[in-house]
Each structure stands twice: as C-alpha cells, then as structure tokens.
Symmetry: C2
Subunit: 189 residues, 2 copies
DNA sequence: CCATGATAGTCATGAAAATGACTAGTCAGG
DNA sequence: CCTGACTAGTCATTTTCATGACTATCATGG
C-alpha cells in the first residue's frame, strides 16, 4: 500500500499521463519512490477503480492517444489519512553495501570497480537533482522559494534525493581510498 | 537473490546462530540490510541445502539448543561472483518522503509530527551506529583502524549507515523548519 | 505462583515488487 | 526501405517480502 500513495502524491501537482508517471517512477526522477512502468500502470488502474484518481482520454494526432489522470477528492482524503499515521522507518538496502561488507574476503579490485561505477552514477544523479531543483525554484533564491514558492513538497523530497546521492558518492570515494591504501600496505609487507 | 548474499556476508566474520543473525537483520544492526527473522531462517535453510553455509548443532544447558553457521568454500565462491557483477543502483524508498511530497495538500501539523518522530528515530540510530563504530575500532584511532584493522567491511558499511541516518535527521529538521516558517507566513496574511 | 521477556526457532498466507514478453503507431537517420 | 528509438501502454509469471500465529524452555521480578 505504498506505491498507491506515491502515485497519488506525484499527481497532486498537475495532471500526468500514465506514460509520464511511469517514466518518472522508472528513472527515479520521482525521486521519492521507484517503480517499474508495469507497476505504475497497474496501480493507476486500481486507483481509478477505487475512485481515487480520474482519467480523461486525450486524443492526439500523430501518436497514440493518452489518458491524463488527476487526483479526486476521495484520493486526497486517502492521502490525508495516510499522512496521519506514522511512516515505518526506512532502511538502506543496497547490493553494494553487501559487497563492501564482504571486503577482505573477496577480490578488492572488483570491489573498487563497483565502487567507481556507483560513484559515477551517484554523481550523475546528484547533478540531475540539482538541475531539477534549479528548474523548480526558477528565478527565486532557495530561501525565497522555500518561504513563498508553490509545490515545496517535490522540492523538499528532491533535496533529500540530492543529499542521499551526494552521501553515496562521498562514501564510495572514501571506501575506494581506504581499500587502495590497504592494498598498498599489504603490497609493502 | 540479495538477502542470500547479505546473510553470507554477515557470516563471514565469525560463526553466528540463526537467532543472532535474525536479530541483527531485524533491528537493522546488520546495518547494510534489513529482513525479518522468518526470512533469515528460510534463507539459512536454503543456503544450507545448497551447501553455501554449514551449520553445526550446539547443545546448550538451560536454554534451547542452537545451530551455529559458517560460510563454506562454495559460499565464498558464490559471494565472490556476486561481487564480480555490478550491483543495481539503490533507491530511497520511504513512506515519509511520500508524505512530504504531498506537503501543501495535506495537514501540516500531522506532517510535522511525522518528521519529528522520524528525526528522533534517526538520532537514536545514528547514536547506535556511532557506538558500534567505537566498539569495532577499540583502542585505535579511525585512521589506524581503517589502515590496519581486521574486518573493515562491517566498519565501512556501518559508516554508511551512520551518514545515512545523520542525513535523515538533518533533512527532517530542515523540512520542519521550512513548514513552520510557511505556516507562520500564512497565519500572518 | 504467575506474568514477562529472552532464547531459539517454524509454518502458512498474502501483499508487493521484479521480470520478461508483447502490441502498435510515429519519427529520424542511413 | 529498413532499423532503432520514442510514445503509450498491457499481460502473465515469478520472486521476494511482510505478517501473524504458534511451540518450547528458562530466568527474573513481583
């Protein structure tokens, strides 16, 4: 029951098509949740059945028709009651951490490769988020935007995403440095 | 196929009983992964069937017997090949982010409550991780430990956990401040 | 003596998420 | 003219996770 609310929350600030939503959730641009297109479509269908979103067909020329969705009052009430109860704490769950946990027992070179790849990905995502933030706040300074801007929700979640990816990158780089250092030390024995 | 490797990695630095493992994964003390006891037991059973871990019965007085597990050579090889392929990037996936995404459309007071709760949890977890780190490095300074200490894997993953929770706390506090500020502004209209 | 809580697990069920395969039209490049 | 990429989805299957309920024994506190 979590994707449900994520989809509702994503639809709050403007109508979107299933395809747009799906893409956002797939790339993680909807930086607060991740899901595959199939999941998103399935969830939209269920949400519409339950009357939490309403779709309207938009006929297009030169490309397939699409359906734009918006949140209904019932949907908003649903979200409201979702916010009323405590969210269960989140955990990091990352294959890369498992790999690092095994450092010392597995090939260090391979590990460093993984960490380098990940650092690059993290840097890219951080850049993307930073750009998104700039777009969202437009002309305003961050302070002004946070005080008076519309749609602060997405802005704030995007900030979390940015900090997370920066944390990832820093950690990766630190681990790489530590592993390199240890490898040299051992070579010097 | 991820819990599998997480369990293997957790067993690398010493024999553990199913119960100990399960507890570690439940509390997230195995800070790099989270799973319920039932999952851990089930995975241990499968790992033993596949010959990746070996259990030995330890007869105890005054309490139920337990089984201590260790990783076999086949298990280590399995982990090694797991490390050889790129880990898929991780995403944050957090109910709280969904709730914040909806800020402006839902009750701000409730949101601030959620954020306050979460900030407290994050602070607690960060403290726990910091303590764990101190225990692991013992007398050494961090630098010395990272250079020469045994079991750096768990130390490094714990550091990621610590940074993550600190990031959580800072973000929560920042969002609270922003929401309060906006509420005051609106009240002043 | 009774209730708790810790140790040490097992079983069954259901919800959520991931994966792979498929349709169908448009547009740009070689 | 063919290929690949983009728009806009759907269907089916499997794997993984989460949940609640259940069995035992021992130790502790009141």
């Amino acid at each position: 029951m979590a994707l449900r609310h994520a989809v509702l929350a994503a639809l709050l600030d403007g109508e979107l098509s299933g395809y747009e939503l799906a893409k956002a959730f797939d790339l993680g641009v909807a930086n607060f949740w991740h899901a595959r297109p199939q999941q998103v479509y399935a969830e939209l269908t269920r949400l519409e059945e339950d009357g939490f979103v309403a779709g309207r067909e938009v006929v297009q020329e030169n490309r397939p028709n699409k359906r734009l969705f918006r949140v209904t009052d019932a949907g908003l009430a649903q979200l409201q009651s979702f916010t009323a109860v405590a969210a269960k704490p989140s955990f990091i769950r990352d294959d890369l951490l498992v790999q690092v946990q095994a450092a010392g027992h597995v090939d260090t070179g391979a590990l460093i490769e993984r960490l380098t790849e990940r650092a690059a990905i993290a840097r890219e995502k951080a850049g993307l988020f930073a750009k998104l933030l700039r777009t969202m706040r437009g002309e305003c300074t961050e302070e002004e935007f946070l005080r008076h801007g519309a749609h602060v929700g997405p802005y704030l979640t995007c900030r979390r995403g940015l900090a997370f990816e920066e944390g990832n990158r820093e950690w990766c780089e630190h681990v790489i440095a530590v592993l390199r250092d240890r490898a040299e030390n051992r070579a010097g024995d």
